[in-house]
Each structure stands twice: as structure tokens, then as C-alpha cells.
């Protein structure tokens, strides 16, 4: 028999052998309940191994595409990270960077030159003023949350109410899409705050993060501020929550002033 004929002969034998064994297994599966379960288990195991294998092979051949997509995504994330670093003055740890726009907000890095920490009406002065583009009622944020609101501006300095001022209230949200409430300093320690006006039907858990709501046109939305520690019911209708702030107001130095570029437009719209 030729070599080609030999190969064909062996292939035929193998095929017939497989057919006979499959037929025998089929009969066995049909006639023995134990064997039925056993074979079904085996078949499922085999099929999952085959599918898993083909999936792995398919994944291997798509690695080039996956790599390209990951690389693009990585590049996009790096760009975003740079923007945020820029926003919070984190690249050099100083405010030497120039103003930067993301969305409808302008971010101006600044350094705190003076801060009061010992009374109920704390304030701070930053080293940027109207000549740097800062206007009154701009927000001030730090690396870990809200710092204050600009009250008055000179050419090179700005006077701002610190968050640790009993007069200051910030509109916040529980989670990124939860209930909105008013956050104010608790008047006692540099990291404590109180979140009020949260309806009682809202489900909350200890450790939930509180973000800026973005409703005030002073602070951009979704800046994490702190986490929920405990809560109590007020007048049987709303919750009042103790918040642990991410920012320690006794250690702040570098901040970023946030200015809503559409503020005037929004104001005019409200006047109508």
C-alpha cells in the first residue's frame, strides 16, 4: 500500500472506531441512568473545555486589536489624569501653573498666604487676584475637596470664606447620583461636617462618599468631599449626617480656584 493509501486507511480506521465508540456510549447513556449522568457531566466538561480553548485561541488572535484599544484608552486616561493633576496643582506641588479650562470651568492654581483656623468665621487669603482672572464668588478646591468661596478680590490677592466658616453651605450629593443636601462645617474640628436635608426614604450606608452636586455654579460637580459616618432623624422627616471630610483644614497650602465660565449667562437666565 502506498504512503497516501496508508494514511487514508488509518484515518478510516480511526473514524470507524470513533463512530462505534460514540454509538456504544450513546446506547450506554440511553440505558443506564448513572451512566447518563456521568456521561452528561463528562460531555459538559469537554464542551466547556473546548469552548474555553477556542475562546482563548480567539483571544490570542485578537491581542493586537486589544493592545491597540488598551493603548488608546491608556493614552486617554493619562490625558485625563494630567488635566486633573493640572487642576489640583499636583504636578509640581506649587501654583506655578497657569490657568486651565476643563468643560465650562476654569481652574487657577493658587497658594494660601494666610488662613485663620481658630474661630467660627474662618477665612483664607490666596496669592491670586483679579489680574489672574479671579472673580468674587469663585470656588476654591483642594486636592481632597472643597476649601472655600472667594468673597473679595484685589489685583493680586483674594479673600475667601473657608469651608470652616459657620456661614458657608455647599450643595452636595450622596454618591454620584444620590440625594442632594446642604453641607456645612460642624463648628468643632477641622475635618468634621454636617449634611442635612436628606429625605428619610433615601437609603444610606456608613462610608458612602459625598460629592459636590454642581448645582451652585460655584463648584464643579463630582468632587469628592468626605464620607458618611453616622446619621440621625431630624423632626421625623429628614436625616442629618455626620461627615468625615477628606481635607484636613489644618494642613492645606495649595489650592485651585474654580470659575464657572457660564456663570453670567446662568445669572441672566435666572433673572428672566
Amino acid at each position: 500500500m502506498s504512503r497516501k493509501g496508508n494514511i487514508l486507511y488509518y484515518i478510516t480506521i480511526a473514524a470507524i472506531f470513533i463512530i462505534m465508540e460514540v454509538a456504544a456510549l450513546g446506547m450506554l447513556k440511553h440505558n443506564g441512568p448513572l451512566q447518563d449522568t456521568w456521561l452528561s457531566k463528562g460531555i459538559h466538561g469537554f464542551m466547556s473545555a473546548v469552548w474555553g480553548g477556542t475562546e482563548s485561541i480567539s483571544g490570542y488572535f485578537h491581542l493586537r486589536t486589544a493592545n491597540r484599544e488598551l493603548s488608546e484608552e491608556n493614552e486617554m486616561l493619562i490625558r485625563q489624569l494630567r488635566k486633573y493633576e493640572y487642576m489640583y496643582g499636583a504636578i509640581s506641588g506649587t501654583d506655578s501653573l497657569t490657568a486651565y479650562c476643563v468643560g465650562n470651568y476654569m481652574y487657577i492654581p493658587a497658594t494660601i498666604t494666610k488662613v485663620s483656623k481658630s474661630n467660627q468665621h474662618n477665612y483664607l487669603i490666596i496669592n491670586k487676584g483679579s489680574s489672574d482672572g479671579i472673580k468674587a464668588h469663585s470656588g476654591i478646591v483642594g486636592r481632597n475637596g472643597v476649601i472655600g468661596i472667594v468673597d473679595a478680590v484685589s489685583a493680586h490677592y483674594s479673600y475667601a470664606r473657608a469651608f470652616t466658616n459657620s456661614d458657608m453651605v455647599v450643595s452636595t450629593r450622596i454618591g454620584r447620583d444620590g440625594a442632594v443636601g446642604a453641607l456645612r462645617w460642624n463648628g468643632r474640628d477641622s475635618r468634621g461636617a454636617i449634611l442635612s436635608e436628606i429625605p428619610q426614604h433615601i437609603a444610606v450606608s456608613q462610608g458612602d462618599t459625598v460629592y459636590t452636586s454642581g448645582y451652585s455654579a460655584i463648584f464643579p460637580p463630582d468632587i469628592p468631599i468626605g464620607t458618611i459616618e453616622k446619621w440621625k432623624t431630624i423632626n421625623g422627616a429628614t436625616y442629618e449626617m455626620d461627615i468625615r471630610m477628606f481635607t484636613d483644614f489644618s494642613k492645606i497650602r495649595y489650592v485651585t480656584v474654580t470659575a464657572n465660565l457660564d456663570k453670567e449667562e446662568l445669572k441672566n437666565l435666572e433673572k428672566r
Partner: protein, 171 residues
Amino acid sequence: MKNAVQNFGIMFPLLLIAQVLISNYFNFSPYAMLSILPAMILCLPVSMNTIWVMAIAFASGLAVDFLAEGLLGLNTLALVPVALSQKTVIRVIMGEDLLTRQENFSFKKNGAAKISYALVIVQAIFFMIYIFADGAGVRPMWFNMARFAGAMACTFPLSLVTVNILSSSNN
């Protein structure tokens, strides 16, 4: 030669009937399985094509499964691999010459030792598959091993007799 084929053609079905009787009436213990089917397949003429050997094994297994008390497909499942390995076992144990000359083996020509080795191999293939499939993964390993050892020991003398009958009718 014609007589030999006729003799083999008569003896093989008779032994198949004997196997059916053994399967039906000689069930003393689960450890003492008796099956002369592997020996019968081993003794099929060397000149016979492997496809035919497998077909005969399939039909024989099915006949025993159908006529004896047991699971349909169990003997068939175990016997077809014996048929597939028949020529390889003969080649390894008896030598290539036997296959080249297409001669059938016998105690007289090849000796009891070689035939015993070949029988042990085909019996082992048969019982391993049979016991594994019969247990369906629910019986403990020690039970399967004990059953395998028991079946090998009980069947071996009977297989020697089978080979003696078939090889003498074959030659």
C-alpha cells in the same frame, strides 16, 4: 484452509453463546467477572482487516449486551478498543513476522508465555474500560481496583482455554 475457516466460523458463535450463558448464569460476585470476549477478539484471523475486526467486536459486544442481563453498550464500548489494538498487541508480543506472513498464532507455534502476555494486555484494556464505565464515577477507586484484579484473575484461565479452542480451529 477452508476447513479451518469453517471450524472458526462455527466455534466463534458457539463461544459467543457460551459468553451469553456465562454473563447470565455465572454472577457469583461483583469481583469475579468472567468474559472471554477479549480472548475471542484476539484470536480473530490476523489476515482480517482491522475494520472487520472492529465490526465483529462491535456486533459481538452488542449481542452479549442484548442477550445478557446488563447495560446495552457496555461490552461494545470495552470490546471495540480491544479490536483496534489486536494487531498492535500481536506485533509487539508475537513479532512482526506473524503479521507479515499472515499466520495465526497458537500455543504450539508461539508458546504459552507469549499468548499469556497478549491475553493479559487485551483483558486489561477490556476490563479497565468495562469497570470504569460500569462504575460511572460513583464507585470508589479501591472497589474498581479490586474488581479489576478479580476479573483478570478469574477470566485468565478461561481465556487460555478459549484461545486454545479458537487457535486450534483456526489452524
